[in-house]
Each structure stands twice: as C-alpha cells, then as structure tokens.
C-alpha cells in the first residue's frame, strides 16, 4: 500500500516535471517563431535606414532632373534612367496586361480539360520559374537579333517585350485566381438572359475580377521595372546623352543605372547609387501600398 503510494507520487512528480519542461519548450518555441517572422522586417528596416543614410548627400530635386555625369558626378542625376523606366513600365503594361488577361480568360472560361490545355498550364507554371536572365537571352536571340527590323534592335520596345514575356505568367496566374473566385451564378444569370459568353465576360466577369487581378498585376509590373538582369542582356544603355522619345530609341533604366554606379569604386558613385535606390524603394513602397489597399478593399466587399 505504502509502496504503491510512493509510486503514484513519483509518477505525479514525473508528470509535473515533464509538463514543466514541455511548457517551457512551448514558450521558447513561440519566441523562436515570432523572432523568425521578424527577421524580414528587421532586414528591411536596416536596409532602408542604410540606403537613406548613404544616399542623403546626393538626394535633391536636381538628382531627379539631371543627367548622370562622369566629370561632375556630384551634380549627376537619374533623369534619363527615370524616363527610360517610365517608358519600360508603360510599354510593358500595354503589352503584357491584354495578353495575360486574355490568356487567363481563355484558360478559366473557355478551355476544356484537354491534353493541350493541361500542357499549357504546366508550361505557364514552369515559365514562372525560369530565371529572368534567361528571358534576357531569349530577348537577345529573338527581339534584338531575329526581329531587329521590327523592333529596332536594342530599343526600348525590345526591353519592354522582354519584360512582358517575363511577367506574363504572373499576370495570368493572378487574373485566373480573380476569375475563379467569381460565383458560377453570375455566369448562369448572364446566359439565362441570352448573353453570349463574351458578353458575360465583358460586362460582368472582367469588371468583377479587376480589383483582385489588378493587385497581382501591379506587383508584377513593379517587379518588372526593378529587374536589371534581362534589360542588361538585351542592351539597355548604361549612358546616353538624350531622353528616350520613341519606341525605337535607346533607353536607360533606373536599376541598371544603380548597377553602373555600384560597379564604380569612387565613393561619390556609391552615394549616387544609394540615392537612386532611395528613389526606387520609394516607388516600390508606393506601388505595394496601393496594391495592398486595393486588395483589402476588395476582400472586404466580397
């Protein structure tokens, strides 16, 4: 009796000790996962603080409106690069959005479950994982060389076509998800009123899918404009004395301007690079905030 009593007591002590350890581990793990989630935030804050500190000496309104300069680097700016990036953004949007939305509408609303359509789907998810520098090589082979008479070789059009191919898969996936979230009853209601498939798509599905798709499209476009590798491969100018004014003109771009400055050893160029980064990050944060605001508004409605 006494014997079994001590045994029960020992079991209870053991149990209590084990619970104590387990609860301790639990608290430690909670701290660990929360800490891991903060790593990204911390790096982002340190990075922003670092570039603002390095770039503040160069940042001014003239920095946005001046040409880069080898002779007077302290008076240099990002004007032609900024204009070039705006050209790239506009053209890439004009090319990739209709094509991407079109492909998404086909895959979501028209395509039957056939072999070729399944291949297209796998293919698109694979294209999303192809490195951007490979798209650069594609652009070099096709748009710069093969189609030179049409694209003007290393023109801003070539740059935009290359970036468009790069972000098409992202736009397709975002638009498809937005289309998929629309209830079938909307389509059936349209058909019941005698509307054709395209009429339903144009009058109901596209407007309803727009906010959701737009979030993904804005993020994709902001990523495209931030890309340096593919445009370097298809021949972006690292220096030019004129402003891009047409489809077939040469062009500079903000990320490649930053890259060019980083690769020069003098401190003044490093500071210019940091100032350029501050501008690029400001644009990125604006685009992201807008996309997130759009998504939150849309999610609340539905």
């Amino acid at each position: 009796m006494a014997h079994s009593g001590t045994k029960v007591g020992a079991g209870r002590r053991e149990f209590k000790a084990s619970v104590f350890v387990r609860y301790g581990l639990d608290r430690a793990f909670t701290t660990l996962v929360a800490g891991a989630a903060l790593v990204g935030v911390v790096v982002l804050v340190v990075l922003l603080a670092d570039v603002v500190r390095d770039g503040s000496s160069m940042l001014s309104l003239e920095f946005l409106t001046s040409f880069p300069s080898q002779v007077f680097p302290e008076n240099g700016g990002i004007y032609p690069a900024l204009i070039g990036s705006i050209w790239l953004l506009g053209l890439t949007a004009l090319i990739s959005v209709p094509l991407g939305v079109g492909a998404a509408v086909y895959l979501e609303e028209y395509a039957e479950d056939t072999r070729i359509n399944r291949i297209i789907e796998i293919n698109i998810s694979n294209l999303a994982g192809v490195p951007s520098v490979i798209y650069g090589l594609l652009g070099l082979g096709v748009f710069v060389e093969l189609l030179a008479p049409v694209t003007g070789g290393t023109s801003v059009l070539t740059g935009a076509l290359t970036l468009s191919l790069l972000i098409l898969p992202v736009i397709i996936v975002a638009t498809r998800e937005a289309l998929r979230s629309i209830p079938a009853s909307i389509r059936e209601g349209g058909y019941a009123l005698g509307a054709t498939r395209w009429e339903v798509i144009r009058s109901h599905l596209l407007p309803m899918a727009l906010p959701g798709a737009l979030t993904g499209i804005i993020l994709a476009l902001s990523r495209a404009v931030g890309e340096a590798a593919p445009v370097l491969v298809v021949g972006v100018s690292l220096y030019q004395t004129y402003i891009t004014a047409g489809l077939f003109d040469g062009y500079m771009a903000l990320p490649t301007q930053i890259y060019d400055w980083i690769s020069r050893p003098q401190q003044i160029f490093q500071d210019s690079a940091a100032a350029g980064i501050v501008v690029a990050m400001a644009v990125l944060l604006l685009a992201n905030s807008f996309a997130i605001w759009l998504r939150n508004r849309y999610q609340q409605r539905s």
Partner: protein, 310 residues
C-alpha cells in the same frame, strides 16, 4: 395582313443577322484569347530554340565533355570548363537556403499557427515587399553593409567580393518564397488533425512540429525546391557582391563567379556576336535553364501531391 407578315419577316431577318454577327464575333474573340494562351507555348519554344541554336554552335568548338568536366574556366584563354561557375552558384545557393529554410519555415508556422489576425495582416505585405525589392538593391546592401560588417567583426580576412554576404542576402530574398509556399501547405492541413493532437494533450509546439509540419511536408519540400531554383537563377546579387572571378573550390569568404554573373559580365563588355565568348553565355544559360527546369518540375510534382492528399 401582308404588312404584318412583312414586318415579322424583317424582324426575323434582323434577328438572324444579329445572331450571325454575334456568332462571328464570338468566334473571333475565342480565337484571339486562344492565341494569347498559346503564346506561352511559343515562349517556351523560343527559349529552347535560342538556347539550343547558340549552344550547339558553341559545342562545335568546345567539346561538351570538356565543358561539363573541366575545372578550368578562363574564356580569354579558351578554357571553358563550367564547373567553377556551377560551384559559385551552388555555394551561394547553399548559404541562401541555410538562411531561408529555417527562417522561412518558422515564419510560415508563425503566420498560420501563432500570429494574431491583426499582425498577420501586417506581416504578409512586408514579406511581399521583401520579395519585390529590386535585386540590385540587395546587391548594394550585401556589398556596402554586410561585407564591411563581417570584416569588422567575425571575419577580418574576408574579401571585398565574397560568397557569404551574397548568399546570406540571397537567403533573405527567398524567405518570402519559402514562407508563402510553406504556409499554403500548412494552411491546407485539415483542422481535425490539430484538434486530434490537442485532444491527446499535445501542446501548441508539439502539434505544430509533430503533427502539422509532417502533414504538410510535401508542400514544404516544394517550397524549398522553389527557393533553391530562385537562388540559382538570381543574377544581380551575385554579380554585384560575389565577384567576377571564377574560383573552383574557393572558401565562402572568397570571391567567386556564379553562372548568372558570367552572363552579365559578358553582355556588359564589348563582345562581338558570333564569337566563342558570345556563344558561351548561351551554353551557360542552357545549363542554368536545365537546372532550374528540373527543380521547377520537381516542385510542381510535390505541390500536386499535397493538393491530392487533402
């Protein structure tokens, strides 16, 4: 009477005309949309043909065996063994995954199992921003912040261009990829599994690490493979912060050249089209393409597997 019949007929005619134009329009639109979808096939063909054409010209002058097995990479001297570039790429990738796997997975666990709703709504956008930061920015940060920091603290002998700074920052870049794909998989684990674990007296940590994570394992593997593929294809960080000197079996504190960095180095110089150096970037590109393709297909397969299970 005649008038009425006339009227009906013209109405029917108009209806038929209208319906015929509508049908024609539908067909044209369907054709255009189909063309948009098929463009993706052409893109893939384009990539394969461009890479294959230039690579085959390259292999007329350099034997594939030398390309794949030699450890000498010195294009000006005509030495084209790709292994030192592969070594540079893998070194940076391994360091990156060493950061992104633990941090990304723990972040995913935090987001799906621990985070309060309000905080989640803040953290996810921050991760998206992290994924969207232009890679030249990360390169600048690695070169001008991380490397000097290491020189002053842990590794006084570190070179200005080195694999460890580039790899660490690349790890930060792919945290969002690993975290968000893992989180999708963890989120897909049915609630009943968690409830079962709690009912058996498991703590929150035990439920997360011994029930939820194993159940989501194939999705997590997919996330890590996708992260590796991103790291292998990343270009500007390694170009800016890891250097432009191929270095077979170098230490992480030394500079080395990645495959992607070689491509950028060549296009940045004045290389005449059709020269062997020009063709070599397509050969390196082909190797890069095949590596990432294999990883992407593997990741796709793993994702499908967990989608089928639950």
């Amino acid at each position: 009477m005649a008038i009425r019949a006339e009227g009906t007929r013209s109405g029917a005619d108009a209806w038929e005309r209208n319906s015929r134009t509508r049908e024609a329009r539908e067909r044209v639109i369907k054709f255009l949309l189909t063309a948009c979808a098929y463009l993706s096939i052409f893109t893939t063909f384009g990539i394969v043909i461009v890479l294959f054409e230039e690579t085959s010209r390259f292999f007329l002058e350099v034997s594939p065996v030398e390309f794949l097995t030699s450890t000498q990479w010195a294009p000006p001297q005509g030495e084209f063994g790709v292994l030192p570039l592969v070594y540079g790429t893998l070194m940076a990738t391994i360091i990156a995954i060493g950061v992104a796997l633990p941090v990304g997975l723990l972040t995913a666990i935090y987001l799906s199992e621990y985070a309060p709703r309000g905080l989640r709504r803040w953290l996810k956008p921050v991760l998206e921003i992290l994924a969207g930061v232009p890679t030249v920015v990360y390169g600048y940060f690695a070169l001008t912040f991380i490397t000097p920091y290491f020189r002053d603290s842990l590794f006084p002998s570190i070179e200005s261009f080195n694999a460890i700074s580039a790899g660490l920052i690349m790890g930060v870049m792919i945290i969002p990829t690993v975290a968000s794909v893992s989180e999708d998989a963890i989120y897909a684990v049915p609630l009943s599994l968690r409830e079962g674990a709690y009912a058996l007296g498991a703590t929150r940590r035990e439920t997360a690490t011994k029930v939820v994570v194993p159940a989501a394992l194939s999705g997590i593997v997919a996330a890590v493979i996708l992260g590796i593929s991103r790291a292998i294809g990343e270009t500007m960080i390694v170009t800016i912060a890891m250097g432009a000197q191929a270095n077979w079996l170098g230490s992480p504190l030394d500079g080395m050249q990645a495959m992607t960095a070689y491509i950028v180095q060549v296009v940045g110089g004045e290389t005449p089209r059709g020269s062997i150096t020009y063709e070599s970037i397509f050969a390196v590109g082909s190797a890069l393409f095949l590596m990432t393709l294999a990883l992407n297909l593997a990741s796709y397969w793993f994702v499908r597997r967990y989608r089928e299970t639950y």
